[in-house]
Amino acid sequence: MDYFLHILILIAIYQTLALSLDLLVGHTGLLSVAHAAFFGIGAYSSAILTTNLHAPAVLGLFVGTSFAALLSAAIALPTLRLHEDYFVIGSFSFQVIVTSLFNNWTSLTNGPLGISAIPHPQIVGYNLNTKVSYLIASVILLALSQRISKRVTWSPFGRILHAIREDSVLPATQGKNLLGIRMRIFALSAALAAAAGSIFAHYITYIDPTSFTVMDSILIVTMIVFGGAGTTLGPLIGAAILILVPEVLRFVGIPTELAGNAKQLMYGLVLLSCILYRPKGLLGRYIFQKWSARP
């Protein structure tokens, strides 16, 4: 039962991640492979603040999300003025560097050993220490992200996002501030990822850099592409399936030392075959391929 709850919590956290990244990939047409870095920034902020400084968990959550939103500007400002390809490269290098900092900045992050004994927080007198309570917390965050995402994408602002995705020249000629709009949606997406990271850190109570590598970013992108970018349910279904399938395979009896490789190999094959044979994903509405005419 505990194992079952654990899987459900993981699915809810990854659904939040996929949903928040889809604001960027599916709705704005910008690809970022730095989502796990923001997830990690949220997790590490919470972990460091609550273990080293004994700050309340809410402060950790708040600092993590604002820090992630601020750092997103470091990628967005220099690269979004250029062609979209540079944004991809910028996000990729940000991801690699953040992982390297998690690994090497030992005085702050404890390096590859990670941070352990992250306390369970107390929220309004209720002690968050059972699996059920974490499931409730992560589902609340998921529902909140879902509401935010719906509100944003169905607003006039969301219309501009979709317009940018289809053709960025038209909204620009109508005087929309493309850079500002893209930066805002990127900051929102990063902040939601950091919030998920904060819950993840408190739930797992032990974090190390291996949960926040470029592979995890690719996994989150794969969830979106597989489920269907720019749809309401696509990222949720993609996340659920891609978390569940390796867990099922675990019972088939692949030796543990090969399991990690086999899992990632499967993700890579899923991503490649989606792009080659079904770019709009399972529930696809928006065709990933069509959005930008080649120069």
Binding site: E84, G90, I97, I218, L272, P279, Q289
Partner: protein, 292 residues
Amino acid sequence: MIAQVIINGMLAGALIGLLALGFTLVVRTARIIHIAHAATFTTGGYVGLWLLRTWDVSLITAACGAMGAGAAVGFLIECCVYRSLRKQRASSVSVFLASLAVVVIIQNTIGLVFGNEIQIAPSRFGQEVLSICGARITTWQGLSILVSVSAFILTTIIMQFTKTGRLARAIGSDADLAQIAGVKLENVLMKVALFSALLGGLAGYMIAYDRSITPSNGLNLILLAITAAIVGGVGSVPGALIGGIIVGLTRQFAGWQLPSQWQDAIVFMLLLVILVIRPQGLFGKPIRRSTA
């Protein structure tokens, strides 16, 4: 001390440049963010070391094996992935994702076959230490600078003076026009992909022999190569070498002066700075800006 830092920076830079060269050639002709170059690199490194260890072949044979393995991977990528995406007129971003997926697949296949542990070269040929202006390098390192520089000269000659080179440059400047003029696009792009993969395999072998290799460090090294290519100007052959040396020197100086955790972060700073002040790089042509 400073001479040693500079020599080490140049050494690392020459190898990063060699990796950036293969990357920049594909970017220039096919207009793809060819991150799957990391896959040819890793395959070359692993096959080279495996030949040395298991079959006890000579260094030259192992180098040829590494280049052949790299080229085989490059052929598969071009044939099964890029060609089909070009047919669908896929956007550059989805080609990037496919390229990244290829890296994940190859890196984990290598992990399954050879294991995820760090690999080093078995027989340590070329560890004699030479002294140049007070700096110490091994013969292998001296040799790798020579190999890298000759690869650059060879590439420049091919790109400037052979028919294939001219066709590749024509495709790079305008693929549609080149096709109208009768250039067989797929043939030329295949040749470029194979040549780039040969260089990738060679770079993998040189770096793996000098230091070590793991299945996953291809992506870290390709980031250095991308930065080098952007600093030097995407598509410029000498720019890749100069950019590589700049990246190598920056990392060495950062490692010398700053706490070690900033050695990689400084590369990101370098990338951001160059994108802000001179996005076309040192030798690049001005690039098309987005509408933002």
